[in-house]
Symmetry: D3
Subunit: 321 residues, 6 copies
């Protein structure tokens, strides 16, 4: 029997299929009865599961992160879909079709990485070229870059999302920058490449995406500069040439200022043309990505409009049904 992706589920479906147990809690209801509260996930999304009249015996048969086979039925509760689970069986990972669960799209990542290399290959400035080569030779970096998410919620909030967003921005740089004669396209291209790399350490992108301690205490902007400084040092020691001080400050400024305003977390606002361009290009891609994702995941019944989303302070037009 073929599996239905979580995103495709609708009200009143009877199911018996695999899920990943993203979270589990044993709870007691008001009358003293026990039940298991589940967070079930696959690559398409997440759904709450409730198993009534459950107890420690069932609860202890599987761990968070395990694959489980669940039988039950979907229903709408308080406007959200959930699943009433009547039976749970732990699965051997070998039984599972990993393509159902792997939110990371390896093909897309591979293709994004190829495009990243092509775009970086357009850089002719020797010091910038030497710097990006240092990054591209660092396999551990490439590995973690490929897997990183760009956010916990919001735009590109999935493993591989950081690379996707980065390559998108670099494409926009390639298209837009030559139209503005005063922009240094090489510098702006490297800025787009570097701007969010601190997110690799700010976020834990496997399992539930969440902030690391370092991420919460220091933040991706400062981490990004720290990372850049390490890579400049590697570049210098590999080449034996000093990296130009002013160029270093230009790159640091692009990372530091890319949120555009101090109230958005940039300790310095953009003061170079490239930094101003980077901030706006970042905004353009991030806003279009997140608004598109809000429209696509919206479940409002009204055909023309999404629900009101407090994070963006508005309902969005979904198009005439």
């Amino acid at each position: 029997m073929s599996r239905t992706a979580i995103q495709e589920l609708s009200d009143g479906q009877t199911l018996a299929q695999s899920f990943q147990a993203a979270d589990k809690q044993l709870r007691v209801n008001r009358q003293g009865g026990k039940y298991i509260l589940l967070k079930l996930s696959d690559r398409s999304g997440t759904i709450v599961g409730m198993m009534w009249n459950a107890d420690e015996t069932t609860f202890d048969t599987f761990d968070r992160g395990d694959f489980i086979h669940c039988s039950g039925r979907t229903q709408i509760h308080n406007g959200a879909l959930q699943m009433i689970v009547t039976e749970i069986q732990r699965m051997d990972p070998a039984e599972v079709d990993s393509s159902d669960f792997d939110r990371f799209d390896a093909d897309q990542a591979e293709s994004n990485l190829t495009r990243l290399r092509e775009l970086l290959a357009t850089i002719s400035h020797p010091h910038l070229d030497a710097l990006v080569q240092t990054y591209l030779k660092d396999e551990a970096f490439l590995q973690s870059f490929q897997l990183a998410a760009a956010a916990v919620t919001n735009h590109h909030a999935y493993p591989g999302g950081l690379l996707e967003h980065t390559v998108n921005m670099m494409e926009l740089v390639r298209l837009i920058s030559p139209r503005y004669g005063n922009l240094d396209t090489d510098l702006l291209m490297v800025g787009a490449f570097l701007h969010d790399l601190g997110k690799i350490d700010e976020l834990k992108s496997s399992g539930e995406i969440s902030y690391t301690d370092r991420g919460q205490l220091v933040g991706h902007i400062v981490i990004g500069v720290q990372r850049l400084n390490e890579k400049i040092a590697e570049t210098e020691s590999a080449s034996g040439n000093a990296f130009p001080t002013e160029l270093r400050h230009q790159l640091e400024h692009l990372v530091v200022s890319h949120h555009g305003l101090q109230e958005y977390g940039s300790p310095k606002i953009p003061v170079t043309l490239e930094a101003i361009a980077l901030n706006h290009i970042d905004n353009l891609d991030a806003k279009l990505a997140s608004y598109t994702s809000i429209i696509e995941s919206d479940v409002a019944a009204d055909g023309n409009w999404t629900n009101y989303h407090p994070s963006i302070g508005r309902k969005l037009w979904k198009g005439q049904s």
Copy 2:
């Protein structure tokens, strides 16, 4: 003797050449002596002129807007260049090389208009196409569009600037929009075309650019919708077909929301993907244009940085001298 453009003047130059008298005032200094305060202009810019010990006789020989031949010397006063005028003679317009004074670049406008037609020709949606044809057939509109400025100060603040900014945005739409599958490129292209057309009536673009009464009382966003409604009516009456109501509201929304936030003057914030894209593309082009113009016109002595500009709350990096 060849004429030196105002933008090219430096401290301590002796001059005897043509200017346009943008403004003139006869004043009395503290000791009771009279002098003439002039605003001298050519197409490259504006400079203050002072003629000491002048009187009504000289003052009455020319009017505001006249071309005058001025002799004198430049000097720095309070950080700005001015000209001490020792002699003034009214000129016959025929004596003047009009290319020295005409701030409107007809060739650029012509080429922008051609590009505008090409970009609008990409529209395949029949109702949108019919609408833009109505605009393109309206010679009076094209004439005033070509001559309009996009602002009093700030970005594209010169005759022809509105067309320049509009075509720039449409080019960005052409480059960027196809990368985002959910965007309706035709709709976005027409939105870019329409978004600032209300400025034709909001600003008086000949002579000193300034706001019209209608501009100050009603503003270019509402005027832009009024204009659009007239053109839709013309389109309907020309074709005999009703313009689709929902499409009309989409276009009105693009005009109404393009400033992005109510505090920036949009009575409604963007709620369609095209409106969100339009707001960000507008921002990108406007900010790059205005920051570039601030850098280019900055007169700070310090090689690396412009002066502090209160309107943008920062100094800008001009590049290492």
Copy 3:
């Protein structure tokens, strides 16, 4: 048996009477049982109804908007009154006393309309008089104006509320304006009349009050100007006289600026004395109406204070109990 209005219901009452089914949903509870969630309304207000152990059979006997006879009992749940419904029977509209359900008070509307005509009759400025006559001759306009609400929630949020608010403001203009010698009372009176007319198209005032697509995309301020332009054109074509351009801009400005600040949705802030007066008079009437309605509908047990209302950021004093 006489019917008890929803507003008059208290905890623990046993009822068997008519309601209108403003909304109905068939839901499944956590244990898999079905129930019907109802929104019951009459002209005095709205109450949630729950019918436990219901199924499709009952659910399908009536539609949204139908009148139904419900038996059951009221109770407090989470601080709000609800009704546990044990029996539902669809009613023939002829069985219902329409005065119990019609939120629109026809007598009040009639009397408001009469007063509107009287207040507009005070206008002596010929062009303004001609304009308001055009409105007053438009029966379709008068019909929809009478039925329109002034808001979805907040002040005057009921059919007829727009007319009520408009006449209130015009009364304040009549009382206040002559005390300020620089105010043009005719202009201000017409401004009060026009300021919110765009709400007729912004809101769907029958059934649940809600925003129309046009309302959400364009907003009542711009719609109000569009409507005004149509009526000015009618006035011109009826009289054969051009409406003075400056006067048109004054009226448009009153509509455009009446929210007072851009962050409240006015694309232009008030710059004429009449516009400043209109903004403050609107505020005065709207705030008194909405605060009074908050006090009257508050259900807090504490005798002196309402609950905290997030929309106004405070508790209100209800008076010493």
Copy 4:
């Protein structure tokens, strides 16, 4: 020769008439020459005077506040009118027509006071009546109330302005309050009477209006409550009856909250209907008064618009010239 009021002066007038020397300074110019800088005033306004080539001899012939006879000529300097004074002679106050200098309009104040008494006579609530009688019996209070200004700049910024503003507001209460059934008109009337009385001690209203130390350290809102508490104590001791505690808090709340928002200096925001009404009525009268005064005192050459006034963030429409 009849005297020309300062407000009536224009450029290039030759004068020989009386002024009051609001201020005088002996200065040295860059070349070492001495001159006297004067602030000349009459009841209609203030003008700067310059006496070149003056010295201690002339400077010492009069004091600040003296009446002086000045000969000279007016001129525009940096957009403002000033007077070049060539001769100064101290005048005996007896020589001066005091009606030329007295900014305080005794007739207007008398008539305002009469109206104040009439409006307060409408109060039927016995405790409120007793309280206002205590104020009305306090001759020293009435004297200082009559002479007080309502502001240093801005609305009603002249001796007598506080009484004028207070009576205006009480008139608005009389007209508006009965239209809103939930408002306690007596309470609101006394609130309007009391709301700004703290300004009597906050401002020094004779000579140049300025803040007192107490005004800057404590502010008129807290002073107003202090004053009220004193008057309540007097009322109690005169009548032998305790003033009701709750009523006292209502009155204190009206004074405390009348600025409407904490950022405008009210430590508590309005939470009673009367306090909300008072805040809006205050705003209405204050804004109309200050915008009218900006229009009337504006000196912009452009016939339709005032200059841009930073304090209100806009230009105002003066009406078509």
Copy 5:
């Protein structure tokens, strides 16, 4: 059997012990069954209690504020601990160990009062000394000061908290003030003593801490000034000496401005060095106290971080587990 303090309770404990019934409500659930909702408290905190299948008989056996003996079991519900109560018995206060319930720590208060006297004894300025002696001689004041809370929620929100916070601040003044030569330590010490005394009347500190009517209508800043004025009058009448006017204004200013900004409720911002110091010292102690209390009462499972607290807009680091 020894009693477990509420703060020490954990999930799944079976209990039979004393509580105070801070609140009780008889409710009906969706199926029509009745239950009692309790707020149980002891000195360590508060917990929700639910007694299912209860009725009026049980409900009527005790009143709000009574001590009751409850049997039952704890459980986690929606992330918070609650108690399912199966049996309730009203207790005679004599049966209860009052040290379990008295949130007021008399020893701590006594010791704080002693320290307060010591710190006030350091004041050498004669008028300030006379003033604080008036306070210290007022037994009723000392009694209510000792029992007062400093807030409803937030920092020092318990009986005795106001004294605790006040003494803390006075200690900081003692330590810090002498390091800044321009500060008047006596004045600052009295300012710290006085700054929040208005809270004695703003809050009802016995039982549930809540705002009084006077507190909501007038606020502790204005009440604090009223109280100060009364005490200055007492001081004057006791000594026969006038209290210096300027010193009075300095003290009033310290109370009036101690919130630092108008938007935080200070009608005047600090303009004396002592007022600036007082604002920052208040902030330092209040923020450290409230953040510490948030960390200590946080129940998040994650070892390193508290939950997100909207009131402070962040999660707090609890230290590495």
Copy 6:
């Protein structure tokens, strides 16, 4: 003849003494005459000098930074003191008493450094101790730290000011921290030591204090973290022990968050108790220092109040004259 410090100069003094020429410009006045505009400085302050009728000959006899002997007279011009210079003679530095010009107070710096060492010696945490020892052994660091200013304007804006401010804060930590049991005093002490060290590279503290390019592009917060990372690396390589990762993040967080809010330039807001304490202690010392300096340097004639200072949005009380 003894020299008068610039701060001690008053109106109308005749002088003949040494100054440092901080700046010089040769200018042409409106009538075409040349003059020299000087910025004259000594350790107490700065004054504008004007030498009329000067020419290139005089102008070329000295350079910016030279000591010059000036004769002339002081005068008030536009409310500020300036000096009319009649004679200029370049001086040999040997002729000058360097104590008149050296704004850096070596004794104070020495004593601050000693106190810094004492305060750092209180640290018992081994890793923190090892880290501060690395700093203390770095002579180049100590040298630049001693000379650094803490700001361009505002608090501690003089060479040595950074050390002064740092030691002040560390003293406050020593006094305050032990009173709050949850604070880690060692961590907070090191945080106070580190928090502003990035200013060493952000500002050029010799001559006119100004921002470096790196300072404007990257800012002292990010530079501070970069510096810290270098010193941790040195500490690790000196000791052979890894610095604990979590401790590193705690220190980085203290630097990153010490401005308290993102809008003040901190990319992360404080989330540890030490970070919250550091932010408030920084504020307390910085505000008291800058407000004291505003009072001390204020030149307002009114005895009780300073002028209005836009940077702090208020006048300050100077004390009763």
